[in-house]
C-alpha cells in the first residue's frame, strides 16, 4: 500500500491532459534533409479519474488510443505532455528506479493468454516471479502466497494447477493465471487490456465476474480496455468512449448505454450484437473506416464519419461538457449535444 494517506474520496488515479505519440524513426538521410518524422497522435489530451473499488471501461475501436493510454498511465510509454497522479503522488516524471517500486502497485493483464505466459515456466514459477523480483517474502511464504493467489482466481485445487505448464491449460485458465500473477503483489490499480477478447464466450463472464469481485471486495481500482461495449456493459460502473485519441463520452454505464449523447457512441450501441435477434433495430452503418491517427482531421475529429456533422464541426474541436440532468457525471464532447 502506498504511504500517501489519502481520503477515500480522492481518486486513486487521476490522469490530466495526457498526450502520447509514436514517432517513426528517422534515418540519417532524413535528419540531414530535415524531413519531419511521421507522428501518430495516439493519445491526444485524455483526462479521467479512477477511484478505489471502481471499474472503468475504456472502449473504442482499434487505433483509438485506448491501449496506448493504459500503457502511458503505467509509464510503459513516456507521455509527451500531461500528468498522471497515483495515490496522490505525481508519477509523470519519476525515474526508472522509483518507477520499479511503483510497479508493484499497478499491474497489467494482457489480451493474449496464449502469449503472455512464458511457455517454459510452470504456473508456480509464473506467479512467484513478481514476488522474487520485488524481494517479497521467503521461499516458504512465497509458496503460500502462490497458492493463495491461485485460490483467489478460483483455480482449485491450487496445488494441481501450480505444477502445470501453460500449454496444458485452457485460455480461460491461462488468463486466470495471468491475473493471479498480477494479484500476488497486492496492487492497488489493475489494468486489463481486453482480458477476454481472445476467450470463448462461455468463459468470458467468469473472468469478468472475477475482476468485479476483486474490485468490490478488495477495493482495487480496475481499468478495463475493450473494443466493444458489450464486454464491459455488465461489469464496469463507468464507461469512457474513445475515438482517435480523445475521450468523446464519459459517464456511468447505465446512462451512457441508455442515453448515448455522442454520435459515435450511438453507432457503437447500434452495432452491438443483441442477445435476442428480434431486438436489433434498423441499423444505419457508419461509413468509412477509422481515420488515421497521424492525419487527424481539423475541427471535430469525428466529423468525416458523423451523420449529423455540419460546417461548425469542421472548424471547432469540441471539449467535454456535462450532459444536463446527469449530476455532473455524464460528459460528452460534441457540438451538437445539448
Amino acid at each position: 500500500m502506498t504511504a500517501a494517506t489519502v481520503g477515500t474520496d480522492t481518486p486513486l488515479l487521476a490522469v490530466d491532459g495526457l498526450v502520447a505519440e509514436y514517432r517513426s524513426a528517422r534515418s540519417l538521410v532524413d535528419s540531414i534533409a530535415r524531413r519531419r518524422s511521421h507522428v501518430v497522435h495516439a493519445v491526444d489530451d485524455v483526462s479521467f479519474t479512477l477511484r478505489r473499488g471502481e471499474m472503468l471501461g475504456l472502449v473504442g475501436e482499434s487505433g483509438c488510443g485506448k491501449t496506448t493510454t493504459a500503457q502511458t498511465v503505467l509509464r510503459l510509454i513516456e507521455p509527451v505532455a500531461g500528468s498522471i497522479t497515483f495515490g496522490g503522488e505525481d508519477i509523470t516524471h519519476l525515474d526508472p528506479r522509483q518507477l520499479r517500486r511503483l510497479r508493484q502497485q499497478m499491474q497489467l493483464v494482457y489480451q493474449d493468454p496464449y502469449e503472455s505466459l512464458n511457455p517454459r515456466y510452470r504456473v508456480r514459477q509464473v506467479i512467484e516471479e513478481p514476488l522474487r523480483i520485488h524481494g517479497i517474502g521467503s521461499k516458504r511464504t512465497r509458496a503460500e502466497m502462490v497458492n493463495e493467489a491461485l485460490a483467489r482466481v478460483e483455480l482449485n485445487p491450487p496445488g494441481l494447477f501450480a505444477d502445470r505448464f501453460p500449454h496444458e491449460l485452457s485460455g480461460g485458465q491461462r488468463q486466470r493465471v495471468a491475473i493471479a500473477a498480477s494479484l500476488v503483489v497486492k496492487p492497488e490499480l489493475f489494468v486489463a487490456d481486453e482480458p477476454v477478447s481472445m476467450l470463448d464466450v462461455s468463459v468470458r463472464a467468469g473472468i469478468m465476474e472475477l475482476l468485479r469481485t476483486l474490485c468490490r471486495e478488495d477495493g482495487m481500482a480496475v481499468l478495463i480496455i475493450a473494443h466493444d461495449l458489450a464486454m464491459v456493459a455488465h461489469s464496469a460502473q463507468r464507461i469512457a468512449v474513445m475515438y482517435l485519441g480523445r475521450i468523446v463520452e464519459l459517464g456511468p454505464t447505465t446512462q451512457v448505454l441508455s442515453n448515448p449523447q455522442h454520435p459515435y457512441t450511438k453507432a457503437l450501441c447500434a452495432v452491438a450484437p443483441r442477445r435476442d435477434p428480434a431486438n436489433r433495430g434498423q441499423v444505419t452503418l457508419l461509413g468509412g473506416e477509422v481515420a488515421d491517427a497521424s492525419a487527424i482531421p481539423p475541427g471535430c475529429r469525428f466529423h468525416p464519419r458523423c451523420p449529423i456533422a455540419d460546417e461548425g464541426c469542421q472548424v471547432t474541436d469540441p471539449r467535454l461538457h456535462t450532459v444536463p440532468d446527469s449530476a455532473g457525471q455524464h460528459e460528452v464532447a460534441c457540438l451538437k449535444a445539448p
Binding site: 470463448d200 463472464a205 473494443h227 442477445r275
Partner: protein
C-alpha cells in the same frame, strides 16, 4: 420437394498426432443446405466447426483422415479424393477463410491475384479477367481503382472484402465463410456481415457461416447448427433457438452472451470441453451441464427432431417438450 444443394452425411474427421494418438475432431456431422439458404455453424473453439468446413472443400492437412459423404447437387465430391473435389473447388463451392485478410500474397497486387484465379479456374482471357476483377470489387464495395494496390495498402476490412470478392470470382453456388469477422473492429464487422447478407440475397447464394459469435451469426443466418465437441447438438431457426433452446448448452451459451441493454447477470459455463482424443461415454456436455442426470452419464444422446425444423441431442427432450424459455427482461 427440391433436393438440397449441399448435403453432408455422417462426416467424421480424425487427426493423427505426433505421439500416435488420434483426435476425433468431427464426429458424425450431417446437415443440408438448400439453394439460397443461409445457415450458421456456431460453437466455441475446438468444437470442430472450422475443421468441418475445411473438410467440405478437401482442405484438410495430410495428418487428417475422414469418412462420410459430401453431396453437391447429389454427387459425392469426395468420392475420388483430391481429383473430384478439385473440380468443385471454387467453381461450385468457395470459401472465405479465417484470417483471410492475411491470405493474400503480400508482394503481388490484389487485382492480379484475383485475375490469376479467374484465368486458371474460369478460363477467362486476361482482359476479361481484369474486367471481372473490377466488377467483383465493385460488388463488394471496394473502389475499382484499388485493384492495382498491394494488400498492405488495404485496411483489414477492405482486405476481407477482397477475400470475399476472391471467393465469388468463379460464381459458386455455395459460399463457406469461416469466421469472416475475426480480428475486425465492431463497425467493420457489422459492415462485412451486412455485405455477406446482401450478396447472398442478391446472388442467390447458399451460405454456410461459421462463427463463435452467436448474436453476429444470427444477423445473417436463418438457421443455426450448434456444435459442441465435434457434434451438432442442436439445429433450428434462429428465433426458435433463442426463444426455446432445446439443449442446455444453447441455453447457457445464450445466457453467457452479453447484451448492452439487458444488463442482467451473465452466466459463464464452468469447465472445459472434453478431450477429443479418447472416446466419450454418455453425453459430451454432461460435466458442464446444469441439468444432467443419470442417463446422461451412460447413454450418448442422439440428434433427433424435437419440433418443426428443430433437432436437438439431449435426453431432457424425451422427458419434457423443451427447456423453459430464457428469462428476458421485457
Amino acid at each position: 420437394m427440391n433436393a438440397p444443394l449441399l448435403e453432408v452425411r455422417d462426416l467424421n474427421v480424425w487427426f493423427k498426432t505426433e505421439d500416435g494418438s488420434r483426435v476425433h475432431a468431427v464426429r458424425g456431422v450431417s446437415f443440408t443446405l438448400d439453394a439460397a439458404e443461409r445457415a450458421g455453424l456456431v460453437g466455441e473453439s475446438g468444437c470442430g466447426k472450422s475443421t468441418t468446413v475445411l473438410a467440405l472443400l478437401g482442405l484438410l492437412p495430410p495428418t487428417a483422415e475422414f469418412s462420410g459423404e459430401v453431396l453437391l447437387n447429389g454427387t459425392d465430391i469426395m468420392a475420388e479424393g483430391e481429383e473430384s473435389v478439385q473440380s468443385a473447388r471454387w467453381t461450385e463451392m468457395a470459401m472465405v477463410f479465417q484470417g483471410a485478410m492475411n491470405a493474400f500474397n503480400p508482394v503481388r497486387r490484389i487485382g492480379s491475384q484475383i485475375v490469376e484465379v479467374l484465368r486458371v479456374r474460369a478460363g477467362l482471357s486476361k482482359q476479361a479477367a481484369q474486367d471481372r476483377a473490377r466488377e467483383l470489387f465493385e460488388l463488394v464495395g471496394i473502389p475499382k481503382d484499388r485493384v492495382r494496390r498491394y494488400p498492405h495498402e488495404f485496411s483489414g476490412g477492405m482486405r476481407q472484402r477482397a477475400a470475399i470478392a476472391l471467393a465469388l470470382a468463379c460464381e459458386p453456388k455455395v459460399l463457406l465463410a469461416d469466421e469472416p469477422t475475426t480480428a475486425l473492429d465492431v463497425m467493420v464487422q457489422a459492415q462485412i456481415v451486412e455485405l455477406l447478407r446482401r450478396l447472398c440475397e442478391e446472388q442467390g447464394l447458399a451460405l454456410l457461416m461459421v462463427s463463435h459469435d452467436l448474436p453476429l451469426i444470427a444477423q445473417v443466418c436463418s438457421n443455426l447448427n450448434v456444435m459442441y465437441a465435434g457434434e451438432i447438438i442442436e439445429r433450428g431457426p434462429v428465433a426458435d433457438l433463442y426463444r426455446a433452446p432445446a439443449h442446455p448448452y444453447t441455453r447457457l451459451l445464450l445466457a453467457a452472451t452479453p447484451d448492452i441493454v439487458d444488463i442482467t447477470e451473465l452466466v459463464s459455463i464452468k469447465g472445459a470441453p472434453p478431450a477429443l482424443n479418447r472416446a466419450i461415454t454418455g453425453c459430451p456436455f454432461r460435466p458442464r451441464c446444469d441439468r444432467a442426470f443419470d442417463r446422461c452419464e451412460t447413454e450418448a444422446p442422439v440428434l433427433k427432431t424435437v419440433g418443426e425444423n428443430r433437432m436437438a441431442a439431449c435426453h431432457l427432450n424425451d422427458k419434457v417438450p423443451a427447456d423453459p424459455p430464457l428469462k428476458v427482461n421485457p
